[in-house]
Symmetry: C2
Subunit: 163 residues, 2 copies
Protein backbone atom coordinates (compact mmCIF):
# COMPACT_ATOMS: atom_id res chain seq x y z
CA UNK A 1 0.00 0.00 0.00
CA UNK A 2 2.88 2.35 0.83
CA UNK A 3 4.49 1.47 -2.45
CA UNK A 4 1.33 1.94 -4.49
CA UNK A 5 0.71 5.45 -3.17
CA UNK A 6 4.36 6.30 -3.85
CA UNK A 7 3.91 5.10 -7.44
CA UNK A 8 0.82 7.21 -7.90
CA UNK A 9 2.65 10.26 -6.61
CA UNK A 10 5.54 9.65 -9.02
CA UNK A 11 3.06 9.34 -11.89
CA UNK A 12 1.35 12.65 -11.10
CA UNK A 13 4.67 14.49 -10.82
CA UNK A 14 5.84 13.20 -14.19
CA UNK A 15 2.51 14.08 -15.83
CA UNK A 16 2.78 17.61 -14.50
CA UNK A 17 6.36 17.96 -15.76
CA UNK A 18 5.26 16.93 -19.25
CA UNK A 19 3.34 20.20 -19.63
CA UNK A 20 0.50 20.71 -22.12
CA UNK A 21 -2.36 18.20 -22.27
CA UNK A 22 -1.82 15.43 -24.81
CA UNK A 23 -4.02 15.34 -27.92
CA UNK A 24 -5.22 11.82 -28.67
CA UNK A 25 -6.74 12.64 -32.08
CA UNK A 26 -8.77 9.76 -33.57
CA UNK A 27 -7.46 7.30 -30.93
CA UNK A 28 -9.83 8.77 -28.37
CA UNK A 29 -12.91 7.53 -30.21
CA UNK A 30 -11.61 4.04 -30.96
CA UNK A 31 -12.68 1.01 -28.97
CA UNK A 32 -9.40 -0.80 -29.74
CA UNK A 33 -7.33 1.92 -28.06
CA UNK A 34 -9.75 2.33 -25.12
CA UNK A 35 -9.64 -1.44 -24.55
CA UNK A 36 -5.84 -1.41 -24.55
CA UNK A 37 -5.62 1.53 -22.13
CA UNK A 38 -8.04 -0.18 -19.69
CA UNK A 39 -6.03 -3.41 -19.88
CA UNK A 40 -2.72 -1.57 -19.31
CA UNK A 41 -4.16 0.32 -16.32
CA UNK A 42 -5.64 -2.86 -14.84
CA UNK A 43 -2.39 -4.80 -15.33
CA UNK A 44 -0.36 -1.96 -13.79
CA UNK A 45 -2.67 -1.93 -10.72
CA UNK A 46 -2.35 -5.71 -10.33
CA UNK A 47 1.45 -5.35 -10.71
CA UNK A 48 1.60 -2.88 -7.82
CA UNK A 49 -0.43 -5.19 -5.56
CA UNK A 50 1.81 -8.16 -6.37
CA UNK A 51 5.06 -6.21 -6.01
CA UNK A 52 3.88 -5.30 -2.51
CA UNK A 53 4.06 -9.03 -1.63
CA UNK A 54 7.31 -9.60 -3.60
CA UNK A 55 5.62 -11.34 -6.52
CA UNK A 56 5.32 -10.77 -10.26
CA UNK A 57 1.91 -10.52 -11.97
CA UNK A 58 3.17 -12.07 -15.22
CA UNK A 59 3.44 -15.36 -13.36
CA UNK A 60 -0.13 -15.46 -12.14
CA UNK A 61 -2.02 -16.75 -15.21
CA UNK A 62 0.75 -19.25 -16.03
CA UNK A 63 0.83 -20.67 -12.47
CA UNK A 64 -2.97 -20.90 -12.31
CA UNK A 65 -3.21 -22.67 -15.66
CA UNK A 66 -0.46 -25.14 -14.74
CA UNK A 67 -2.13 -25.81 -11.35
CA UNK A 68 -5.51 -26.41 -13.04
CA UNK A 69 -4.00 -28.54 -15.83
CA UNK A 70 -1.07 -30.52 -14.39
CA UNK A 71 1.08 -31.95 -17.19
CA UNK A 72 -0.01 -29.24 -19.66
CA UNK A 73 2.33 -28.66 -22.63
CA UNK A 74 3.96 -25.30 -23.30
CA UNK A 75 1.99 -24.96 -26.54
CA UNK A 76 -1.36 -25.51 -24.82
CA UNK A 77 -0.34 -23.14 -22.01
CA UNK A 78 0.57 -20.36 -24.49
CA UNK A 79 -2.75 -20.72 -26.26
CA UNK A 80 -4.79 -20.79 -23.08
CA UNK A 81 -3.18 -17.60 -21.82
CA UNK A 82 -3.50 -15.78 -25.16
CA UNK A 83 0.26 -15.50 -25.73
CA UNK A 84 2.34 -16.77 -28.59
CA UNK A 85 4.87 -19.48 -27.75
CA UNK A 86 7.88 -17.16 -28.01
CA UNK A 87 6.54 -14.70 -25.42
CA UNK A 88 5.66 -17.58 -23.05
CA UNK A 89 9.23 -19.03 -23.11
CA UNK A 90 10.91 -16.31 -20.94
CA UNK A 91 8.01 -16.44 -18.42
CA UNK A 92 8.43 -20.23 -18.11
CA UNK A 93 12.24 -20.06 -17.98
CA UNK A 94 11.91 -17.66 -15.05
CA UNK A 95 9.37 -19.91 -13.26
CA UNK A 96 11.65 -22.94 -13.67
CA UNK A 97 14.77 -21.02 -12.54
CA UNK A 98 12.95 -19.87 -9.40
CA UNK A 99 11.89 -23.41 -8.64
CA UNK A 100 8.15 -22.74 -8.99
CA UNK A 101 7.53 -24.93 -12.06
CA UNK A 102 8.91 -28.33 -13.07
CA UNK A 103 9.49 -29.21 -16.73
CA UNK A 104 9.49 -32.92 -17.61
CA UNK A 105 10.16 -34.41 -21.01
CA UNK A 106 7.42 -36.65 -22.33
CA UNK A 107 8.24 -40.24 -23.30
CA UNK A 108 6.36 -40.21 -26.61
CA UNK A 109 7.71 -36.87 -27.92
CA UNK A 110 11.25 -36.00 -26.80
CA UNK A 111 10.81 -32.37 -27.92
CA UNK A 112 7.75 -31.76 -25.74
CA UNK A 113 7.63 -30.92 -22.04
CA UNK A 114 4.90 -31.45 -19.46
CA UNK A 115 4.64 -28.71 -16.85
CA UNK A 116 3.65 -28.95 -13.18
CA UNK A 117 3.94 -26.83 -10.01
CA UNK A 118 6.53 -27.52 -7.31
CA UNK A 119 5.53 -27.04 -3.62
CA UNK A 120 7.06 -23.51 -3.82
CA UNK A 121 4.96 -22.89 -6.92
CA UNK A 122 1.81 -23.86 -5.00
CA UNK A 123 2.75 -21.36 -2.24
CA UNK A 124 3.52 -18.53 -4.68
CA UNK A 125 0.21 -19.16 -6.45
CA UNK A 126 -1.71 -18.92 -3.15
CA UNK A 127 -0.14 -15.49 -2.47
CA UNK A 128 -0.81 -14.28 -6.00
CA UNK A 129 -4.40 -15.55 -5.87
CA UNK A 130 -5.02 -13.42 -2.75
CA UNK A 131 -3.69 -10.39 -4.70
CA UNK A 132 -5.82 -11.19 -7.70
CA UNK A 133 -8.88 -11.45 -5.46
CA UNK A 134 -8.13 -7.96 -4.07
CA UNK A 135 -7.65 -6.64 -7.62
CA UNK A 136 -10.97 -8.18 -8.71
CA UNK A 137 -12.75 -6.50 -5.80
CA UNK A 138 -11.29 -3.16 -6.93
CA UNK A 139 -12.41 -3.77 -10.52
CA UNK A 140 -15.89 -4.87 -9.41
CA UNK A 141 -16.30 -1.70 -7.36
CA UNK A 142 -15.35 0.46 -10.36
CA UNK A 143 -17.51 -1.43 -12.86
CA UNK A 144 -20.53 -1.66 -10.56
CA UNK A 145 -22.88 -4.65 -10.16
CA UNK A 146 -25.38 -3.46 -12.80
CA UNK A 147 -22.84 -3.09 -15.61
CA UNK A 148 -20.69 -6.15 -14.80
CA UNK A 149 -22.54 -8.93 -16.66
CA UNK A 150 -22.92 -6.90 -19.86
CA UNK A 151 -19.30 -5.78 -19.76
CA UNK A 152 -17.98 -9.34 -19.35
CA UNK A 153 -20.32 -10.58 -22.10
CA UNK A 154 -18.89 -8.04 -24.59
CA UNK A 155 -15.28 -8.89 -23.60
CA UNK A 156 -15.94 -12.61 -24.18
CA UNK A 157 -17.65 -11.88 -27.48
CA UNK A 158 -14.56 -9.95 -28.64
CA UNK A 159 -12.23 -12.81 -27.60
CA UNK A 160 -14.23 -15.42 -29.47
CA UNK A 161 -15.35 -13.50 -32.58
CA UNK A 162 -12.55 -11.13 -33.58
CA UNK A 163 -10.23 -12.56 -36.22
CA UNK B 1 -6.56 -11.65 -46.18
CA UNK B 2 -4.83 -14.79 -47.45
CA UNK B 3 -2.43 -14.57 -44.54
CA UNK B 4 -5.11 -14.03 -41.92
CA UNK B 5 -7.10 -17.11 -42.95
CA UNK B 6 -3.84 -19.13 -42.98
CA UNK B 7 -3.14 -17.95 -39.42
CA UNK B 8 -6.60 -18.96 -38.25
CA UNK B 9 -6.15 -22.41 -39.80
CA UNK B 10 -2.81 -22.84 -38.04
CA UNK B 11 -4.40 -21.84 -34.71
CA UNK B 12 -7.19 -24.40 -35.05
CA UNK B 13 -4.78 -27.20 -35.94
CA UNK B 14 -2.57 -26.45 -32.94
CA UNK B 15 -5.57 -26.28 -30.59
CA UNK B 16 -6.70 -29.70 -31.80
CA UNK B 17 -3.23 -31.19 -31.34
CA UNK B 18 -3.15 -29.96 -27.75
CA UNK B 19 -5.87 -32.48 -26.82
CA UNK B 20 -8.15 -32.17 -23.78
CA UNK B 21 -9.99 -28.90 -23.11
CA UNK B 22 -8.11 -26.52 -20.85
CA UNK B 23 -9.47 -25.86 -17.35
CA UNK B 24 -9.33 -22.16 -16.48
CA UNK B 25 -10.28 -22.57 -12.81
CA UNK B 26 -10.96 -19.25 -11.04
CA UNK B 27 -9.54 -17.24 -14.00
CA UNK B 28 -12.73 -17.84 -15.94
CA UNK B 29 -14.82 -15.76 -13.53
CA UNK B 30 -12.39 -12.86 -13.21
CA UNK B 31 -12.87 -9.59 -15.03
CA UNK B 32 -9.11 -8.91 -15.02
CA UNK B 33 -8.37 -12.06 -17.01
CA UNK B 34 -11.35 -11.62 -19.36
CA UNK B 35 -10.21 -8.04 -20.07
CA UNK B 36 -6.69 -9.24 -20.85
CA UNK B 37 -7.89 -12.02 -23.17
CA UNK B 38 -10.12 -9.57 -25.11
CA UNK B 39 -7.22 -7.12 -25.46
CA UNK B 40 -4.83 -9.87 -26.63
CA UNK B 41 -7.38 -11.13 -29.19
CA UNK B 42 -8.08 -7.60 -30.44
CA UNK B 43 -4.36 -6.76 -30.71
CA UNK B 44 -3.66 -10.03 -32.54
CA UNK B 45 -6.46 -9.26 -35.04
CA UNK B 46 -5.08 -5.75 -35.63
CA UNK B 47 -1.59 -7.27 -36.03
CA UNK B 48 -2.81 -9.57 -38.79
CA UNK B 49 -4.47 -6.68 -40.65
CA UNK B 50 -1.30 -4.56 -40.43
CA UNK B 51 1.05 -7.40 -41.40
CA UNK B 52 -1.06 -7.80 -44.54
CA UNK B 53 0.07 -4.28 -45.55
CA UNK B 54 3.68 -4.80 -44.32
CA UNK B 55 3.26 -2.71 -41.19
CA UNK B 56 3.58 -3.29 -37.46
CA UNK B 57 0.69 -2.54 -35.06
CA UNK B 58 3.00 -1.57 -32.20
CA UNK B 59 3.88 1.54 -34.19
CA UNK B 60 0.34 2.79 -34.64
CA UNK B 61 -0.39 4.48 -31.30
CA UNK B 62 3.13 5.97 -31.14
CA UNK B 63 2.91 7.43 -34.69
CA UNK B 64 -0.58 8.83 -34.06
CA UNK B 65 0.43 10.46 -30.78
CA UNK B 66 3.57 12.00 -32.33
CA UNK B 67 1.51 13.26 -35.30
CA UNK B 68 -1.09 14.82 -32.99
CA UNK B 69 1.55 16.28 -30.64
CA UNK B 70 4.58 17.30 -32.72
CA UNK B 71 7.61 17.89 -30.48
CA UNK B 72 6.26 15.58 -27.76
CA UNK B 73 8.87 14.18 -25.32
CA UNK B 74 9.49 10.46 -24.92
CA UNK B 75 8.23 10.62 -21.31
CA UNK B 76 4.93 12.23 -22.32
CA UNK B 77 4.56 9.77 -25.20
CA UNK B 78 5.07 6.77 -22.88
CA UNK B 79 2.45 8.05 -20.45
CA UNK B 80 -0.08 8.87 -23.15
CA UNK B 81 0.19 5.39 -24.62
CA UNK B 82 0.01 3.65 -21.23
CA UNK B 83 3.53 2.20 -21.45
CA UNK B 84 6.46 2.67 -19.13
CA UNK B 85 9.46 4.49 -20.56
CA UNK B 86 11.60 1.36 -20.86
CA UNK B 87 9.06 -0.48 -23.03
CA UNK B 88 8.64 2.61 -25.25
CA UNK B 89 12.39 2.88 -25.99
CA UNK B 90 12.67 -0.14 -28.37
CA UNK B 91 9.50 0.97 -30.22
CA UNK B 92 10.99 4.45 -30.74
CA UNK B 93 14.45 3.12 -31.66
CA UNK B 94 12.79 1.06 -34.37
CA UNK B 95 10.76 4.04 -35.66
CA UNK B 96 13.89 6.20 -35.83
CA UNK B 97 15.95 3.45 -37.53
CA UNK B 98 13.25 3.02 -40.17
CA UNK B 99 13.22 6.76 -40.80
CA UNK B 100 9.61 7.27 -39.65
CA UNK B 101 10.36 9.42 -36.61
CA UNK B 102 12.89 12.19 -36.03
CA UNK B 103 14.47 12.72 -32.58
CA UNK B 104 15.78 16.22 -31.82
CA UNK B 105 17.57 17.29 -28.67
CA UNK B 106 16.00 20.22 -26.85
CA UNK B 107 18.10 23.32 -26.17
CA UNK B 108 17.05 23.73 -22.54
CA UNK B 109 17.52 20.10 -21.46
CA UNK B 110 20.29 18.20 -23.27
CA UNK B 111 18.98 14.84 -21.99
CA UNK B 112 15.48 15.33 -23.46
CA UNK B 113 14.36 14.71 -27.04
CA UNK B 114 11.46 16.15 -29.00
CA UNK B 115 9.82 13.73 -31.43
CA UNK B 116 8.23 14.39 -34.83
CA UNK B 117 7.19 12.41 -37.91
CA UNK B 118 9.24 12.37 -41.12
CA UNK B 119 7.41 12.34 -44.50
CA UNK B 120 7.78 8.50 -44.52
CA UNK B 121 6.27 8.46 -41.03
CA UNK B 122 3.25 10.40 -42.30
CA UNK B 123 2.78 7.85 -45.11
CA UNK B 124 3.14 4.83 -42.78
CA UNK B 125 0.62 6.39 -40.40
CA UNK B 126 -1.92 6.85 -43.21
CA UNK B 127 -1.66 3.13 -44.10
CA UNK B 128 -1.92 2.07 -40.46
CA UNK B 129 -4.90 4.39 -39.89
CA UNK B 130 -6.76 2.65 -42.74
CA UNK B 131 -6.06 -0.70 -41.01
CA UNK B 132 -7.17 0.62 -37.65
CA UNK B 133 -10.41 1.88 -39.22
CA UNK B 134 -11.07 -1.61 -40.61
CA UNK B 135 -10.28 -3.14 -37.21
CA UNK B 136 -12.66 -0.69 -35.50
CA UNK B 137 -15.43 -1.65 -37.92
CA UNK B 138 -14.87 -5.31 -37.01
CA UNK B 139 -14.97 -4.50 -33.28
CA UNK B 140 -18.10 -2.35 -33.68
CA UNK B 141 -19.88 -5.16 -35.51
CA UNK B 142 -19.04 -7.61 -32.70
CA UNK B 143 -19.95 -5.22 -29.86
CA UNK B 144 -23.16 -4.00 -31.49
CA UNK B 145 -24.50 -0.43 -31.50
CA UNK B 146 -26.63 -0.89 -28.35
CA UNK B 147 -23.80 -2.11 -26.12
CA UNK B 148 -21.03 0.16 -27.45
CA UNK B 149 -21.52 3.31 -25.34
CA UNK B 150 -21.84 1.39 -22.06
CA UNK B 151 -18.83 -0.78 -22.89
CA UNK B 152 -16.61 2.21 -23.68
CA UNK B 153 -17.81 4.01 -20.54
CA UNK B 154 -16.75 1.09 -18.32
CA UNK B 155 -13.35 0.82 -20.08
CA UNK B 156 -12.69 4.55 -19.49
CA UNK B 157 -13.83 4.26 -15.88
CA UNK B 158 -11.32 1.44 -15.33
CA UNK B 159 -8.48 3.48 -16.94
CA UNK B 160 -9.15 6.51 -14.78
CA UNK B 161 -10.12 4.93 -11.45
CA UNK B 162 -8.04 1.79 -10.97
CA UNK B 163 -4.91 2.33 -8.92
Amino acid sequence: MVQSSKNRRRKRTAAKAAGAPIQFGPLEQWVGFTLRMAQEASFEAFSRLSRDIGENPGRFAALTLIAENPGISQTALSQASGRDKSSMTPVLDDLVRRGLVRRQRTHDDRRAYRLSLTPSGVKALAKLTACARQHEQNLDRIIGPRARAGFVRVLRKISSEIS
